[in-house]
Symmetry: C2
Subunit: 140 residues, 2 copies
């Protein structure tokens, strides 16, 4: 079985607010968009933002609300990039969860929630290489 | 800004139950594990399963419970692979959300929740190529 995740899909309430967060905060450009879904081509997979009712209908499970125990991380190349990116994301409609500081396991990181409450870790992790195509490799 | 997600981290209540789902259901092998976190090397990023209290402490936001509006997808190479993989995941501790059928946009898919309720779509999407390294490309 291929050790592979093809798509990450986040349910969103307002496509425009979500698009603003990802395009103005991260600077990402969708590869496809219509009136219910946007897709972004990522490093080896596709990232989608889909209106919550459509996602709920597709997975046949309605979200019950609340903050979920999961996080997506975007790693940057230098410690000095962490705080400015967090600021940019907050400026683009995000909510600060944790200001950047140094975790016990090394590196530097903070957390921002997107307009729908999905948590993003912005991290500098010098131990994990990122190649020119954005492919990230685990290294102990 | 690199259009890149480095890590997907899911909060889990029981590492052994989670490990069983991913290793017996999907056949994936962790590249690292200790008594609070497992990491899997994926197609261009790292997938982590971390004890919920540790993740909550790291992101400084306690999960409030409930089913979240997000899904991860694992795409397979043929329609005939979808239902057997869903069966294997249910056999490894998952819960069926939607039995496999054909969505309006084409292909074939179903949904399973992992032992912690995180939703997985198992899909055959003939429009989106997957290369030998598992890198998935959006195609309209």
């Amino acid at each position: 079985m291929q050790q592979q995740i093809s798509v990450i899909t986040l349910g969103v309430a307002d496509l425009a607010a979500s698009r603003r967060f990802y395009s103005q905060g991260f600077g990402w450009r969708p590869v496809f968009e219509n009136d219910e879904i946007l897709f972004y081509q990522m490093n080896g997979f596709v990232f989608g933002t889909w209106l919550k009712p459509a996602l709920a209908d597709d997975m046949q499970r309605a979200p019950t609300g609340g903050d979920a125990p999961f996080a997506l991380a975007h790693n940057v190349a230098a410690q000095a990039e962490v705080a400015p990116l967090i600021d940019a994301l907050v400026g683009a409609g995000g909510t600060l969860l944790r200001a950047a500081d140094a975790p016990p396991h090394g590196g530097f990181r903070g957390y921002v929630a997107d307009p729908d409450g999905h948590a993003w870790e912005i991290a500098w992790n010098p131990a994990w290489p990122i190649d020119a195509e954005g492919h990230v490799r685990f290294a102990a």
